[in-house]
Structures are given as structure tokens and as C-alpha cells.
């Protein structure tokens, strides 16, 4: 490359990171402000009707708003972009592992993800916005990297440098980090999330770029939040860059507290893994319903929405009215929007503690649960009811056709669980119940997500409480360890459930007993260095392979030898150029001068040359074409007797799509087969060798 091109490339790389940060930050803020206003309006309406004792009308208003919002989200999701349903983190994770699934990062998915998430969260579902924000960030990154959309004639010449897997993956990693940063206002947590959970390959240069992106997100958010403090954002809350500040609490704890925290971690881990187990079962059930068509999807969403409304309006009636505490700085019962003390059906001077949790946005409910120096605010019975219902609602909500994050449901249930434990132990314990709630959230998160450092930093950035760090680390370690004994992390489960061919970083134990040639499957299709056009077309039509080995034969070499690997996409571009010759001769590199190097660059999904685009005449079928110019002459190879475990590590670490298996002894055809990602999947290997012990 020339110097000017390298310069363009570097400038563009950073400019795109900046744009991803700006875009994701803006979307994050827009999401926040929309949710606060829509949900705030809904809650104000309900509270207002209740204060005039119109209880049935109040329920109708609440349930009606919820159903309309939920149905709109479901319609968007079912008809425009089915790929936008769910969290989106598993899909992004699979993409960054090298799985190019269709429409995961399409513009329509982005659109539905943004608006569907706003509608879904406003509809009062027990869902969060972080998963969708991660997906949104990834979509924005993908769209920017592709130069907008060729369909809508938005493309830019400089972007040609980004038409390859690696740069695209880098951008999407930045997008995922920016998504977490925007959802939790946690820039460092975002970087670590991308590193620990999302990305499969990592370079320190990338660390720096994601760091820059999330710094931009943080600055965008801070600017807008500062603007909103002047009161121009409607019902936008008081939250700053720290969403749930608990730093006012005193961190004193004794040996007994440590024991309590260990117990909390163990039980949290069990509940976390149970959550994963149940979510898995529910998704499997729902997918049967969802497959029946869009109307069924919408019906399911409406049903769950109605159930959620019933819970959040019905269950608070079970709670008794509590007299307001006397030494308060805030008003009790709360007037207007969010707040700790909802009056619900209670007379003045009293509040309903369950309503303070149920009739609030999820964010405000978490804030209430994390609130410190308010030990007696919630009754043990209320916390128990809320925990049970939120835990169940969270499980049955994931899998319906709306964009739905998993973090907030888990934090909500975990915080309630922690506060409950804190209440139970309060006579022995010095630790604030608000901090117990934080530790409870950590234990559930550790038990479901199975991340460590990134969760720790996200919680730190959410709550601004550095002195509690040792306890948070302890809880995360315990709950993850406990939960790992039962099943895998929730995102890994979903990846597997969706059947995405995800390559694990380590090789499975049974692979040590096999060699590379054991799993080579399917008929091998090879081309000669100079091949007949008809043969190529036939191979392209009859197989779905994306890579073909090219073999040089006499007279072009002394003996048949492996020349390299040619990609389907490059073959299609070459055939489209129609540089055929009548004889078997080397055409040399001048053939490439008719193409620009960027013709061979990886196009966006579904945008490359297709087989149907080719228009080859009958007489051209018998002509020859020289494949050498487009052959990758140094493909990664392994000898057939190479241990399969070692081959898998090579494949995964280098990030390959094709690996050539070559024979060990001489005098045989120069290639034994080609290994792709699918050949390493446990299903494939254990299918070939059913008597193998998968754990040995």
C-alpha cells in the first residue's frame, strides 16, 4: 500500500471509532429519555386515577398502555426484523467468533432494535436495554463500516479499506463496548465486557480503540445529562453518570458479615444457574409458538404483557400500608413521578412498599432496592413477593418477540434477593441493607452471566463504591464457581440453542484421541491451476463450499503439488470478468490489472457477486482460466497425522475459515481435505465417532 492509503486508513479507523461512540451515545441517551417519558406518563396517569379512587380505570389505563406498547414492539419485531428479538449479545458474540449469520447486523435490525427496545422497556416488561444497546452499537458499527447501505445509495469510497473480516470485527467490537458503556454509563466496564464476553480475538491496539470509543460515549452522555439537569427533558430523572450511587453508605463489616456474604454468594450462584436452566426451557417452548407465524408471536407478547400488568397492579394490594418514616428529606408518600414511597391505596401519611417496587420503571425499582440507610423501608414479606414474581417474570419474558436484555431482570431479582438476605440478617450484621442488595445483584449476575472482571467494574461504575470492591469480587467468584458446576453461562447457552457454530477457545478433551484426517468429511473438490470454466461453474453450483484447493499439475510442476486455496467469492468476481483463454496457458499477473484490488474485497452481507449474476455462454464453458493470480498461495496447512486438538487450537487462535490437511507420506495427491469451522463442532465429531467419551 502507498503511504497516502495507510494515512487514509488510520484516519478512517479513528474517525469511525469516534462516529460509533457518538452514534451509540446518542441512541443510548435517546432511549433513556424516551423510556423515562413514556413510562413516566403511564405511571403518572395510573397514580392520578388511583388517587381519585378509580381503581378499575387505573388498572385499565396501566394494562391498556402496556398492551399497546408491547404490541407495537412485537409488530415491529415480527414483521420487520425477526433477528431483533432477544438480547442480541449471543449473536454479536457469534459474529465476533467468525459466524456470518444473515441479517444480524442489517439496517432493519438496527431500526427495530432501537424502537422495539424503547417500546418494550416502556411497556413495563421485566426486560433491560443493555443487550439491545450492545446489539445496537454493533449494528451502528457494521453500518458505518459498510459505508451505510448500498441499497440506499449511501456509500463512501474511503471505506473500501474496511471490506475485510478483521477490520469489520474490530469495528463491531468497538460497537459492543460502546453499547455497554451507553447502557450502564460505564465506559471501562464496556471495554472489559467487549474483552471478556464479546470478542474472541483481541489485540492491545483494539483495547485502545474500544477505550477511545467508550470515552466518547461517556462524554456524549455527560453532556446531555448536564443539559437535562436544567429541566428541558420532560420526565427525565435525576440520575447522573452514576446510575445507582451507594457511596454514602459506610463500609464496615465484620467476620460474621463475611460469612453471610459467602452464603449469599452460594445461594445466588444456585439461583443464577437455575435461572439459566429455566430460561433455556422457556425459549425452547416459545420457539414452538413463535415458529407458527407472526400473529402467534404478537399474541404471546400480549399475553405476557397482560400477565405483567396483573402482577404489577395486583400484587401491591397484598402489602399493608406502612407509616411514613419521620426523619425524611424526601416527601412521603411520593408526589408525582419516581420515588421511594408510593401511596397506592394507602391514606396520606402511609405508603405501600410493594407498589414502590412494582409501579416504577425497572431502573427506579433497582435504585430503591439499592438505597442505603433505609433498612426498614421494605417489609420482608414484600421483598419475598417481589423476588418471586420478578424472578418468574424475567424467565418467562425472555424469548418473546421483543428486544429484551437480561442484565436488568437479573439485577432486579438479585438486588431484591440481597436486600431480603440483609433484612433476615439485620440483627447480626453491620452491613447496610442497600449494600446487601448490591452484593445480591452481583451474586445473581455472577450466577447467570459468568463474567468476572467486567461485571465487577460495571457494578463499580453503576454504584460508585470502591470500598466494597473486595466483597463484590468475593461474591462474584463464589457464585460463578457454584453455578459453573451446573451449566454454562446464559449467553453461551443461547448461542448453542440457536445452532450457531461457535468455536471455543480450548479444544475438547476427546479431540486429543483423533487426528486431523479423521474428521475430514464430504467429497473434496479441487481445481487445477488452469481450470476449465465449465468445471468451476459445475463445482460452484453443486457444492456450497466457500474455499477450493488449487493443485498444480504437470506440465506446470514436476509432480502434483498444492498451489493454494481459492475462495468462492473471488472465483465469482474472476468469472464475471470473463478473462478466458482457449488454451491451457498461464495468463500471468496482467489479468489482475483489469480488476481493482478492491473488487476482491469482502463485500457486505448479500452484496457480493452471486452465482445467478454470471452469464457464461455455452462456448465459454470449454475455455480455460488461470486461477493462480487469485489463489492464496500460503494457506495454513496441517499434516494429516496432526492431533485434532492441536489443529483446533491453530484454527481458533489464528481465526481461520479454511485449513488444508496435507498428506504425510509422498506419492499421494497433495491434499487430503479441507477443514472448516463445522468440522470441529462437537456434534460433527461425535456424530462421526459416536462411541467416543465426550469428557475424556
Amino acid at each position: 500500500r502507498k503511504k497516502i492509503q495507510i494515512y487514509q486508513y488510520i484516519v478512517l479507523k479513528w474517525a469511525l471509532a469516534l462516529l460509533i461512540g457518538l452514534g451509540t451515545g446518542l441512541v443510548g441517551f435517546f432511549n433513556n429519555i424516551s423510556v423515562e417519558n413514556i413510562a413516566g406518563f403511564k405511571l403518572l396517569l395510573t397514580t392520578d386515577l388511583m388517587s381519585r379512587h378509580k381503581y378499575y380505570k387505573a388498572f385499565a389505563a396501566l394494562a391498556g398502555c402496556n398492551i399497546v406498547l408491547a404490541a407495537s414492539a412485537a409488530i415491529l419485531c415480527a414483521y420487520i426484523a425477526p433477528a431483533a428479538a432477544g438480547s442480541g449479545i449471543p449473536e454479536v458474540k457469534a459474529y465476533l467468533n467468525g459466524v456470518d449469520a444473515h441479517s444480524i447486523l442489517a439496517p432493519s435490525t438496527l431500526f427495530v432494535k432501537i424502537f422495539g427496545s424503547i417500546l418494550g422497556v416502556s411497556a413495563g416488561f421485566v426486560v433491560g436495554k443493555e443487550g439491545p444497546m450492545v446489539h445496537t452499537g454493533a449494528c451502528i458499527a457494521s453500518l458505518l463500516g459498510q459505508g451505510g447501505s448500498r441499497k440506499y445509495h449511501l456509500t463512501w469510497k474511503w471505506l473500501k479499506y474496511f471490506k475485510n473480516d478483521r477490520d469489520r470485527r474490530d469495528l463491531i467490537t468497538c460497537g459492543a463496548a460502546a453499547g455497554v458503556a451507553a447502557a450502564f454509563r460505564a465506559p471501562v466496564g464496556g471495554v472489559l465486557f467487549a474483552l471478556e464476553e464479546a470478542a474472541s480475538w483481541w489485540r492491545s491496539a483494539l483495547l485502545w480503540r474500544t477505550f477511545f470509543t467508550t470515552a466518547v460515549v461517556a462524554m456524549v452522555l455527560r453532556a446531555f445529562i448536564q443539559y437535562c439537569w436544567t429541566g428541558n427533558c420532560g420526565l427525565f430523572g435525576q440520575g447522573g453518570l452514576i446510575m445507582y450511587d451507594v457511596s454514602s453508605a459506610k463500609e464496615t463489616y465484620s467476620g460474621f458479615d463475611l460469612l453471610a456474604v459467602i452464603l449469599l454468594g452460594i445461594i445466588g450462584g444456585i439461583f443464577g444457574s437455575l435461572y439459566n436452566y429455566l430460561v433455556d426451557k422457556v425459549i425452547r417452548t416459545y420457539s414452538i409458538i413463535n415458529e407458527k407465524g407472526a400473529p402467534f408471536k404478537i399474541l404471546l407478547v400480549v399475553t405476557i404483557s397482560l400477565l405483567t400488568s396483573c402482577c404489577s397492579y395486583g400484587l401491591p394490594w397484598l402489602a399493608k400500608c406502612t407509616p411514613c418514616p419521620t426523619n425524611l428529606e424526601v416527601s412521603c408518600p411520593t408526589v408525582g413521578g419516581s420515588g421511594n414511597y408510593k401511596s397506592f391505596q394507602c391514606p396520606s401519611g402511609y405508603y405501600n412498599d410493594l407498589a414502590s417496587l412494582f409501579l416504577n420503571t425497572n431502573d427506579d425499582a433497582i435504585r430503591n432496592l439499592f438505597s442505603t440507610s433505609t433498612e426498614k423501608e421494605f417489609h420482608i414479606s414484600s421483598l419475598f413477593i417481589f423476588l418471586a414474581s420478578v424472578y418468574c417474570l424475567g424467565i418467562i419474558t425472555y424469548g418473546i418477540a421483543i428486544p429484551s436484555g437480561l442484565f436488568i431482570p437479573v439485577i432486579l431479582a438479585g438486588a431484591c434477593y440481597g436486600r431480603l438476605v440483609g433484612r433476615l440478617f439485620e440483627s447480626f450484621s453491620k452491613l447496610d441493607t442497600g449494600l446487601f442488595a448490591l452484593l445480591g445483584a452481583a451474586s445473581f449476575l455472577g450466577g447467570t452471566m459468568r463474567m468476572t472482571v467486567s461485571l465487577c467494574v460495571i457494578l463499580l461504575e453503576l454504584t460508585n463504591d470502591l470500598l466494597l470492591l473486595p466483597l463484590v469480587m468475593l461474591v462474584l467468584l463464589i457464585s460463578k464457581t457454584v453455578a459453573d458446576n451446573f451449566n454454562k453461562g446464559v449467553y453461551d447457552q443461547i448461542v448453542k440453542l440457536k445452532g450457531l457454530p461457535y468455536m471455543e477457545a480450548h479444544a475438547e478433551p476427546y479431540m486429543r484421541h483423533l487426528v486431523a484426517s479423521d474428521v475430514v468429511s464430504g467429497p473434496l473438490v479441487t481445481f487445477s491451476g488452469i481450470e476449465k470454466v465449465g468445471n468451476i461453474l459445475h463445482a460452484l453450483r453443486t457444492t456450497a463450499h466457500n474455499g477450493f484447493p488449487v493443485i498444480d499439475e504437470p506440465p506446470f510442476s514436476d509432480a502434483p503439488e498444492l498451489c493454494g486455496l481459492v475462495l468462492r467469492s473471488h472465483l465469482l468476481v474472476l468469472l464475471k470478468g470473463k478473462n478466458f483463454s482457449r488454451d491451457r496457458v498461464l495468463s500471468g499477473v496482467e489479468i489482475l490489472q483489469r480488476f481493482s484490488a478492491f473488487d476482491f474485497a469482502k463485500a457486505g452481507l448479500g452484496k457480493g457477486v452471486k452465482l445467478e449474476d454470471l452469464d457464461i455462454q455455452e462456448e465459454e464453458m470449454e475455455m480455460y482460466i488461470d486461477l493462480h493470480p487469485i489463489t492464496n498461495s500460503s494457506p495454513y496447512t496441517v499434516v494429516e497425522t496432526m492431533s485434532l486438538a492441536k489443529a483446533a487450537i491453530l484454527f481458533r487462535q489464528i481465526g481461520l475459515r479454511h485449513m488444508c490437511v496435507v498428506p504425510k507420506s509422498q506419492g499421494r495427491p497433495p491434499i487430503v481435505g479441507i477443514l472448516t469451522r463445522h468440522d470441529f463442532m462437537p456434534e460433527h465429531v461425535l456424530g462421526l465417532y459416536p462411541h467416543m467419551n465426550p469428557h475424556k
Copy 2:
């Protein structure tokens, strides 16, 4: 492996992580308490003499203490373990990249590192303890992993599982993380440091283990600090888990402040890279002196110590006495130990601001510089004098024969620089000067160390100020970007200066124009599958190779083919077993039954079987031995025409020590050569092809 062995392995892995955490935490605390007491005693003595106007005696006491402490450190370093000099981070980094340098992690190095660091820091040098703590953590990990020291008969049978490169590297990564965690009381920062700067290979399982280790460190430190608050630790200060808490300051900043911060970042980056440049020059100069022998090393240390003493005692005389502020909670001038207001030569009611910086431990000086709501405490002139002297002292101190960390000097100079900038801008700026000091420290750190996320989190954990995060990120990004235009990070520079063959994660651009066989060098020594003992001995004696290809020849195969790779260490063990036979026959696997699998495990440095240990008789030289049982039959191979850049990536990503280059065409010997780490070094490649443009 059997189930019980896997169980032993897992238990041991976590037990070792626990022990590393405990050990490093203990050493960190011991270091802290020793330094505070020794330096505190010295400073109290000086202050006491000064208060009685015995100025010359006071200087003599200060300089005398310093020289005695410095000389002891130098003697330890020069005579017992020269490898303990300097930071230790470059060495640990190189080790984790796969460079087994001698004595880097030996028990003697550990001993000198611990006590040398205490003496050096107490002696008032402008050095820190974090680099040495990282090295200490790594040494503790290495020692534990080797099962203590065989020399001192401390070894444990279970530890046999850890006698391989990967497990050893994992342990040392944990140790490095624990070191940072102990030095800065920053558990998450420690994990990120290990990830971003120290480790070359990373798996998410390792993330979790390091996280556990640093959590243990944090809990150990917290327990001891809590104990010290009862007043049983002598002169131990008041610091808690947060070393320099600035969270009391208000984070308000305007657009102007943003501009000031950007300017601060740019200038900080320039000064940071200048620091690296000068440190490099100084080390080169010193190494000439140091090579002359131990007495010269000690002389150099004493000279620098005297110079430091002169600065810290002499320069405060330049400052005028400042009247004490009136609305203070602390006493002014300070009575006794550390504190913001040193009286020095001033009458009562006055303090000397330069003495508050110079006549303090480095930790306390940094705390004073970071202190918030004390805008006018330090004069601009005093800050300028301190900045200039600390910057220069920091540069001329690194490279002398004492354990010396680079973080503290850089933070000290950076904080002073930031506070100076804050004072200069104070009439326009809303930002507290203490926060300016923090940003200044970030800019210098970014400019010298070139880390991003880990520095950010370390600073966060040092200062407990989450709301300043966006500004810290901005400053780090700017200063790193600016500095990267001039030279490399300081640790990379030192690695290069020491001539350690460090493999970069990316391939150099010129490697794309070469193929693997271009850099194969030296005569290739191969063995037959069944080889004559004499030939093996001859090869072991005449070459320094650590790996030899084994080739099967007729009659054991149809044509010569590559059987695999055999390691020097395994050959030595096999030869020591003396299972020779008179004829060329396959001995089969039963030969291995005479050995335990752990005989072939990688021994500690310098502990394996040596060539001199072998006692082969003349008649045995003509006998044969079957190498098949110890041959690694699936070595990673590349074809000779593989691009060198791709081969380098393969070599680095998989973490190889040997890579076999095989011929492309048939009918030639089955191996072309072996590539090792040295063959990829720019010096070697550019030495072979001097006309190559290294940047293209």
C-alpha cells in the same frame, strides 16, 4: 490422566493462586510498614534536629541515613542478585512472552527484590515499589510453582503437574497481577495490568484466576490495614484501601477546562516520551559503569543518593515561608510525621511548601499534591523547582543497582506538573488543582507507560474518583497518542535494550515479502527414528539446539518422512536411562514404562539433566536407541513457501518454541529447517537481507 489427577490439578491450581495472593499481599504490607517506619524515623530525626536549629547535623543525619540505606540496597543487589536491579516489569513481560532468561525468578532475586526495594525506597530515592512488587509477585509465583527450591529441599510431589510452560506462565501472570494489586491496593487494576502489559497470551480462564488472586491480596491488605488503625504499626500512616482519596472534590468543569486538559495531555505526552528517551540514554551510560564491577555499582548508588539528599535538603531553602492558612482542621506547621505543612526553617505559624514535598516519603508527597481544596498551598515557583528536580532525579535514578519502580517517579513528576498547570490556569478554571494534579499524573503515565485501560483503572482505584473518569480517559488517550509518535513505551524500550528476544504480536511489514525458508539458518541436524547413541551425543555437544527433527527412513517407512520433533531435555533424560540396544529395532512404548511421565516434565531453570551428568561408555556409543516414544509426532509445520508474516503470526499466536519448515515439492528431504524465536527477530531477518526496507 485419571480423574484423581485432574482433581489434584484443579485443587492445586486454585490453592497456588490463593498462596500467591496471600504471599504477595503479606510482602506488600510488610514493604509498606517497613518503609513507613524506616523513612518516618529518618524524617523525624531530621525534623527534630532542625527544630533545634542544628541545621548541619540535620543534613548529616539525613544524608547519612540515606547513604547507609542506599549502600545496603546496592550491596545486596550487586553481590547477591544483580538481576534484582531495576523495575523487573520488562523481565516479567519477556518471561511471559516465552523468554526463559536465567535467574530472573530465582529465590535470591526474590530476597534482594524485597529487601532492596524497602531499603531503596526508604533511602529517599525517587523510585517506587510497584515494579519491584510485580517482580516479587512473579518470583513468589515461580517459587511456589516449582515447589519451593530443590536446592533447599523444599519440594512437594503434587507440584509435578506444574512442570510445563503454560501452567508456569499462568502462575506468573497471577503473581504479576498480585504485585500491582499489592503495590497500589488496586485489585482490578492489577488484573488489567497483567492483561494489557504483562501477558502475551491470555485465556478467559486466566482472567478469572488472576481476579481471584488479586481479590485475596485486597482482602489481606484490608485486614492488616484495619489492624494498623488501632495504632500497633508504629509510624504506619492513615492510608486505607484508597491511597489518595480525592473524592471530596467537586467535579465541575467547563468547556475551557476541557481545552486546558487537552493541552495538558499534549504537553504531558511530550514530556513522557522525553522521559523514555532520557531514561534510555541514562541506562546505556550507567551500564558502562555497572559493567566494571560491583564496587563501581555501589559507588554509583552512593553518588546518586548523596545528590538526592542534597536536593531534598538544599532546595527547600529556596522557598519562602508561607503563613499558615487559618481555617484548617490539621495542625500547621505539622507536628511529627507526614503532613501537608512542614515547618523546616520557618518560625511557628509559617510553613515551607517545598519542604512539604521534598522532606516526605514519595507516597506522602503525592498525597499532598493530589490534596483538594488547597489551591494556594504550593507556590508556583515551588512547584516548578520540585517538578524540575524530581523529573531529573527520576531519570538519573533508574538504572542504578537497586530495585527501582518507575510508576511513582512518573506519578510524582506528573502530579506536580498537573498542579502547576492548574495553578497557572486557576483564574479561568473551575476544576480543583488537586484534580489537575491527578490529570497531570495521568498524562505523564500515558506518555511513558503507554497503557490505557489498566492505567485508567489503577488511577481510579488510587483516587476513588469515578466522576472524573471521562477526563482521565481523554488525557490518557491524548498523551499516549502524542508520545507514540516519538518512541516506544518505556518497558518495551528496556526489553529491547536488554536484548531479550521478545516476539511482537504483529508481524513486521517487511516480513510479507519473505517466505519461511528465507530465514532458516544454520546447519540442520536431524536424527533417524532409531539413532546411534554416538550421533546423538555428538549433536548435543556440538550444537546448542533445543529441538531436533526426527526422520523415519526405510525400512521403517516407504520413503523418508518427518516423524516429529524431539527436545534436547527429553533426549538427555532418555540417554540417562540407558535403554540402548545393539540393533536397529523399534523398542516400542514399553521403554517408557521405565520412566515416569514426570521425568520428562520441564524442570526448573538449571535443574534438568545436564550433558555433563551423562556417563556413556565407549562401547555404548555404537549402540542404538529408539526415539519414537519421546518424539512429538504432531509438531506445527509450515510449507517453505509460506509467507514469513503468516508464519510469524502462527508462531506467536500458538506460543511455539520450534516450528518445522517442510518442503513444498516431493522427492526432497522431508524437512527444510527449523524456525525458532530468534529467526523472527528483526536483527536476524534484516541481517540476512540488509537491503530490505524495515518499514515496508
